[in-house]
């Protein structure tokens, strides 16, 4: 290491290899690795033309992650009880033979649906981690059954998009924020959650350009503090009520854009009847919303006026509030408000769709193909799922993924289509991240065989029977795409050789296919696959992309979602049955599901503030994001751990009432379980609400009490009727431990 003041020696041996980090945060950020003697010595990021694709603190910590001493470097076999985390190293031969043997045995004994491949969104790439390679392998042995659908991050938002707009592609590029006169950040904290590289940078620029910014959130987040001019604290789970009350104000004052509603929507009249009280005798006024939301009626009224009178306004519906009971109603209400004010499809407006809205500007070749096999999921359309859901990603299947642990435990006896016996897990820390950890643990213990491909001994890895050492993105060739800003392709050259005996996901699957006697699994190297996928992309000079590591696609102007549908509706109907934005959805009505109304409504949920359970568990738990992790990734990385020690965030009022001081060890508990972690006393959260950032690794002690602070010990695996993920709906109590 250089001493201060030394002249650096030139080092002809050091190369700078560009690649792209994409950790399931939504970002797609440049990482320029300095490599000497095959070792990464330091990292830089994009320093070229603006807008640069700068990596965040997690991207900058990759060197510490790839060389972490606790990397899994050898295949391992479980010794001791499942979940104890005791393993012994074995050879790849033994590992692959065992897995192949178990795949055959389980398939022959129980049938193909007994095998469950479970992928996730960890260290992501278009080739290596895509579920396609394992799907292909299983299909080639007639064992691929695709049963589970749903996206944990924002399924409530997808429900709203698919029913209201008829499409999943509902996002605008972030530079359109500079065209807004008002940005309404609803439960949105992109300086932490990223949701596309440069989102925070565009908000900073918008603020400096004079755009008015308001934030509605139970917490005074750093995005709120830095960008917003006004903060409106709200009770968790009540967002739909506030939006509906705003609609009431807008209608009462005749501020809605009736011409827009007439031309582009159906069903506004039915929504109006509900909002104005004709349907149920209860006008949804700000006075009605105040006790529900904890927001003063005058504040709601003023916000409604300001939002409706300022044009264009961008209502950005953060996906955190959508991960609540009836979260789909919040998302439907946000879209409806955007329609009522005529802000859809205009520069500086917003579709009102989920904040991590997919823009869909880039294309890529398909990569590995999944052959048809008799066992594959036949197109059974369950009644409880939108008919068009399969046209959006992760839409095939009959069981919503939130019900995984229930399905694993109950199987056919519980009405599920399969009795799973073997689970093959990769790119996923499902045991940690699924709601109701106690139940997930029981479900995992119930399986006959579990294979996990992992980089670290995560809570999921601890439950493996065979644990395979996986490479990181730096040790394999791959391809990524960034939605914005700007849209970009990332070419991932293999920067360093795999550590230890780690193998890329493609190599693992190829080796397994050989053991299984599958002749035609794969005929290409990773580089060749990436080449092929790029042939059907917007990249015209592939060698240049390979050398530079990334290519930005410059758009002549910001991409505005639904601009064509608004400017030329006759030739560009919305892909809905009516061809219009469906505020009233007959499709939803036909599903005839309780608590799934065809218009957006506020529905009081289980474990809300009015639940009698509050006598026992009075605090609302929310499970937000911390910038020290990307979900569960990076939890074990020292540079990041030291920045933000894991704790439960609690307002001083609630702490004082319990004689709890800052830093005390506290028990957070409800009927589902308990965790013991330190408390952090903060002013930046509503009293009555506590925050345990999601992603901390489950670590039960000898008494089974979690000391890692995994919030899902406390959450409930009860999805919303529209399938919104429920991890921000839970009641807990806290006491000194």
């Amino acid at each position: 290491m250089l001493e201060d003041g030394d002249i650096p020696e030139t080092d002809a041996q050091e190369r700078i290899i560009p690649t792209v980090c994409s950790c399931h945060c939504g970002g797609c950020c440049v990482v320029k690795a300095h490599v000497k003697d095959g070792i990464i010595t330091r990292i830089e990021t994009d320093d070229g033309e603006e807008p640069q694709l700068r990596a965040c603190l997690r991207g900058r910590a990759w060197r510490q992650r790839v060389y972490a001493p606790d990397r899994i470097k050898y295949p391992m076999k479980r010794i001791g009880a499942r979940g104890e985390g005791r393993f012994e190293p074995i050879s790849w031969d033994e590992a692959l033979d065992t897995i192949a043997g178990e795949l055959r045995r389980i398939r022959n004994t129980y049938g193909p649906e007994a095998i469950l491949f479970w992928g996730g969104g960890g260290d992501m790439g278009m080739l290596q981690d895509s579920g396609k390679r394992m799907a292909r392998l299983l299909a080639l042995m007639d064992s691929f059954v695709n049963l589970y659908w749903g996206i944990a991050s924002f399924e409530g938002g997808v429900f709203a998009d698919m029913s209201t707009f008829g499409t999943y592609w509902t996002g605008s590029t972030r530079d359109d924020l500079l065209n807004s006169r008002l940005i309404l950040m609803w439960g949105w904290d992109p300086s932490v959650t990223i949701q596309d590289t440069n989102t925070a940078w565009y908000l900073a620029q918008a603020r400096e350009a004079g755009v008015r910014i308001i934030s509605v959130d139970p917490r005074f987040t750093s995005s709120t503090a830095t960008f917003a001019h006004q903060w409106i604290p709200i009770w968790p789970g009540t967002d739909a009520a506030m939006l509906i009350a705003m609609a009431n104000v807008i209608i009462t004052k005749n501020l809605h854009d009736q011409a827009f509603l007439d031309k582009y929507t159906v069903g506004f009249d039915k929504f109006k009847e509900y909002v104005m009280g004709q349907e149920d005798g209860v006008p949804k006024t700000p006075e009605w919303a105040e006790p529900i939301t904890g927001v003063p009626a005058e504040t709601i009224r003023n916000l409604a006026h300001e939002y409706a009178k300022t044009k264009p306004s961008a209502l950005i519906a953060g996906i955190g509030p959508g991960r609540s009971a009836y979260g789909e109603q919040y998302h439907r209400a946000a879209i409806t408000l955007s329609a009522m004010t005529g802000n859809i499809g205009i520069p500086g407006g917003s579709s009102g769709s989920r904040s991590w809205g997919t823009v869909g500007l880039l294309q890529i070749g398909p990569g590995m193909k999944i052959p048809k096999s008799p066992a594959r999921d036949k197109p059974v359309q369950p009644k409880n799922k939108l008919p068009n859901r399969a046209t959006a990603p992760f839409g095939h299947g009959t069981v919503n993924s939130c019900l995984l642990n229930d399905a694993l435990l109950k199987g056919r006896a519980g009405g599920y289509p399969a009795d799973h016996k073997l689970m093959y897990i990769n790119n996923s820390n499902v045991l940690n991240q699924w709601p109701n950890t106690g139940k997930t643990v029981a479900a995992f213990k119930n399986l006959e065989f579990i294979v996990v491909e992992e980089q670290f001994m995560t809570p999921t890895a601890r439950f493996a029977d065979i644990l395979l050492p996986s490479t990181t993105f730096l040790e394999q060739c791959d391809l990524v795409m960034g939605a914005q800003m700007p849209p970009n392709y990332g070419y991932r050259t293999k920067v360093i050789e795999p550590l230890g005996e780690c193998k890329s996901q493609l190599d693992i699957a190829s080796a397994l296919a050989e053991r299984l006697g599958i002749a035609d699994f794969n005929d290409k190297s990773a580089d060749e696959w990436v080449e092929q996928m790029l042939q059907s992309s917007y990249v015209t000079d592939i060698p240049a992309l390979r050398e530079k590591g990334f290519q930005k696609i410059t758009l002549p102007e910001p991409h505005v979602a639904f601009r064509k549908q608004i400017e030329d509706p006759d030739n560009n109907p919305f892909p809905t049955p009516s061809g219009k934005i469906e505020i009233y959805s007959q499709v939803i009505a036909d599903m005839n599901k309780p608590d799934l109304p065809p218009i957006p409504k506020y529905i009081e949920s289980w474990e809300s503030r009015n639940d009698p359970l509050r006598a026992k568990y009075p605090l609302q738990l929310i499970t937000t994001h911390t910038r020290r992790r990307a979900h569960t990734q990076f939890d074990n990385i020292p540079w990041l751990r030291e920045l933000d020690p894991h704790s439960v965030g609690m307002n001083s009022t609630d702490a004082e009432a319990r004689s709890i001081k800052d830093g005390d060890m506290v028990r957070v508990f409800n009927d589902r379980g308990q965790i013991i972690i330190p408390v952090k006393i903060i002013e930046t959260i509503r009293p009555g609400v506590v925050d345990i950032p999601q992603g901390a690794w489950y670590a039960p002690d000898e008494n089974g009490i979690d000391r890692g602070g995994c919030c899902n010990v406390l959450t409930l695996d009860r999805p919303s009727p529209g399938w919104a993920w429920p991890t921000n709906t839970a009641l807990v109590q806290i006491e000194k431990a």
Binding site: G5, R42, R54, L57, P233, P638, W639
Partner: protein
Amino acid sequence: MQLGFHFDQTRCTGCWTCVVACKDWNDIPAGSANWMRVSQIVRGKYPNLWMGFLATPCYHCLEPACIEACPTDAITKRQEDGIVVVNRDACLGRDKCAVCLEVCPYGSPQFGDKPDARMQKCDFCLDRWKVGKKPVCVMACPTRALAAGPIEEMKSSYGNLQQAAGFLYARELGPSVVLKPKDDPAVPDAG
């Protein structure tokens, strides 16, 4: 010529990317040594809150307190660019001395946790500066809240203000930094 920083407190989200980028570039292990430190300033009680952040490297002062206090002349200020650098071999170490840390109002002298730790601190990424690159913190910041270069250029581009929430303007030391403070409407002169 005197080099210096600009920090825009209105853009900083307290994200720590500068902290980690610095640790990676300078190969500093996890532990108490942080050449870049980000502090969080929260004022008020719920719901009347104000929050800002301050990113503090070393300000390479015109009249550094650390140089004045150091008993072995381990710390020097470069003639050509005003960067304050430390010779670790000449430093007596944390256990025997650490006076520089006592006198610096910005906490810039760092030691870390190893036995007989010698002083280490921000050196304006001199290795980068010499090949025409800006300090790594500046190039890392996701909201472009940091800038660096000749302090006269910083002043002409960003103004002369040397105040911000959490920043102590030590006039007698002459920190080589200009800042854009984040205003707190409740405390108009708190910046």
